[in-house]
């Protein structure tokens, strides 16, 4: 493998999903020289598999489909001269924000003044006998296959988990021509939005709450699953087991932030179950406990693309201000509007607890900073 001499950029963005793209666009708009690093062949992160219309208000691009937002962001990034290093894996975040990169034939170090880690999240799984059989996969994987690669992985589907991901992917599998046999959920109530549940229920897909998957069976790939009811303590109720024939099982049991680079850099963390696990603490401008290092998007707590985009904008603005590229008054006012838009997305029964959890992260950041200063 070759080693390349040290590369340089003013602002390095690791991960070209909605958070990374928005941060890059926002900073580049004010003249910051930006490089996005992404391990895929195309930036956009999960946006290109999201064929549904987004929630929010007009300023959050509500009513626009996810992949269309992806196209808008990529064209904005081009317009402002954002450089994109595709097919590159960021494998290390070292002292002074030096980033270890590798593509298929060379390893290199990228140095920068500011870095944003916007690596997103990874799907959780659950283990049960037979779970390693082919065609038992994360719901996100199935969604990528149907919406990006246009391959239908199975025709008779069982989805595990009734959060928004489970509901939306089940609906999209129906759109792709599959039959969803059922969605099972361990809790007594459906996890995702009522409107998502309603649109798939009226198509005749049952959502079985207080149910779990006991095992999967099949010769070369999954051919059936055994499910059963569970009691309040998630114990299987004997005698309620039943078989469901299927050729695809989608696991949609949440996601957790991809924090390896932040660990390596020595950032300070908090464990917040409601946000998906260990999260780097950060201030209201997405600055972490490492100088010059920012985070945005699902890595700061698993939420939605719409919140990721606003966090990205905040980080991009903060970087532009730190680098002196934007007049302080203008910067502060732009930051304030982005924060208001973000707050609007974190209200109501699905949002308020996330707002509180994020406040806790910010409080931890200042507590840590005070300790260090003392």
């Amino acid at each position: 493998m070759e080693r390349e001499n040290k590369l340089k950029t003013e602002f390095a963005v690791i991960g070209g999903g909605p958070a990374g793209l928005c941060a890059a666009i926002e900073a580049a708009k004010y003249g910051v020289e930006v490089t996005i690093i992404d391990e895929n062949l195309k930036p956009g992160g999960q946006l290109f598999k999201q064929i549904h219309r987004f929630f929010g208000s007009e300023e959050h691009l509500a009513g626009v489909r996810g992949f269309e937002i992806g196209n808008i962001l990529i064209s904005d990034a081009q317009k402002y001269g954002v450089k994109v290093l595709l097919n590159n894996i960021a494998w290390g975040l070292f002292e002074d924000n030096n980033i270890g990169l590798c593509d298929t034939n060379k390893v290199s170090i990228l140095s920068c003044k500011k870095v944003l880690v916007a690596t997103g999240a990874i799907e959780n799984s659950i283990a049960f006998p037979g779970w390693t059989l082919p065609n038992i996969m994360g719901a996100g994987a199935a969604q990528t296959m149907i919406n990006v690669n246009r391959v239908l992985p199975g025709r008779k589907v069982v989805t595990v988990g009734s959060g928004n991901v489970g509901l939306i992917v089940s609906y999209q599998l129906m759109q792709a021509g599959a039959q969803v046999e059922c969605i099972i959920e361990g809790l007594p109530e459906i996890g995702g939005y009522q409107v998502h549940a309603s649109k798939i229920t009226r198509m005749g897909v049952p959502i079985l709450t207080r149910h779990t998957i006991i095992k999967a069976e099949g010769e070369k790939f999954v051919q059936k699953v055994i499910i059963s009811q569970v009691d309040d303590n998630w114990k299987i109720i004997a005698g309620t087991e039943r078989e469901i024939n299927c050729d695809l099982v989608c696991i949609a049991v949440g996601l957790k932030p991809l924090i390896e680079l932040c660990r390596m850099a020595g950032m300070k963390f908090e464990y917040l179950a409601e946000l998906g696990g260990f999260i780097p603490v950060h201030n209201e401008n997405m600055q972490t406990t490492i100088d010059g290092a920012y985070i945005a998007g699902d890595i700061t707590g698993v939420e939605e693309a719409s919140t990721a985009m606003e966090e990205g904008k905040i980080a991009g603005l903060a970087v532009a201000m730190e680098l002196g590229k934007i007049d302080e008054k203008k910067g502060e006012s732009e930051l304030a509007s982005a924060k208001n838009r973000l707050r609007a997305l974190r209200m109501g029964p699905y949002g308020e607890f996330r707002h509180q959890a994020k406040q806790n992260l910010i409080n931890s950041y200042y507590k840590y900073k005070n300790q260090m200063g003392a």
Partner: protein
């Protein structure tokens, strides 16, 4: 709506009932239904979303601030059943119901994102909110095209007694 009401509305079984819908202030009055097509908003939770409000040029739908407020058909007289809100709703949760179509028939305009689209004039099986087959219906109108951006509007003619019940349909070949 109080927090307790919301909890009750949080579905355990996967569908909302007409009773749930009538509990919250948005379902059009029977007097309004008698006057022709009107938007029925089946969105019961406080989620951050307001495209229905911005889609309505007649200010009939209100979400207001914060955007997590439930959408309410605040001015049922102003609503003319145009269906712009159906196209913009990311939750596919709005229908236009016309109980004044004729003595015995009603029409329902539904958002439809499956292919193939139904043929105009064809018979379909109409489904309720749980996906149960309820009655037969006839496709009166199929609106697709660029402005709708793949949220097609399908108008189905059904027996009037099912106007509050039918919310989806199946093309017969697929039954």
């Amino acid at each position: 709506m109080t927090k307790n009401d919301l909890k009750e509305n949080k579905m355990a079984k996967g569908f909302i009932s007409i009773e749930d819908l009538k509990k919250v202030p948005s379902y059009p009055s029977e007097e309004r239904f008698k006057r022709g097509p009107v938007a029925v908003i089946e969105c019961l939770e406080e989620i951050p979303c307001n495209p229905c409000e911005t889609a309505c040029s007649r200010n009939a739908i209100k979400v207001g601030y914060p955007i997590t407020n439930r959408p309410v058909l605040v001015d049922e007289a102003a609503c003319n059943g145009c269906g712009n809100c159906i196209i913009k709703c990311p939750g596919l949760a709005i229908f236009v119901v016309n109980k004044a179509y004729s003595e015995e028939k009603a029409t329902i305009v539904m958002p439809y994102e499956l292919l193939p689209l139904p043929e105009k004039g064809s018979n379909v099986v109409c489904l309720d909110r749980k996906g149960n087959a309820i009655c037969e219906g006839i496709i009166l109108k199929v609106l697709s095209g660029k402005a709708l951006n793949k949220t097609n509007l399908i108008t189905v003619l059904i027996p009037k007694e099912y106007a509050d019940v039918v919310r989806f349909f199946k093309i017969k070949d697929n039954v």
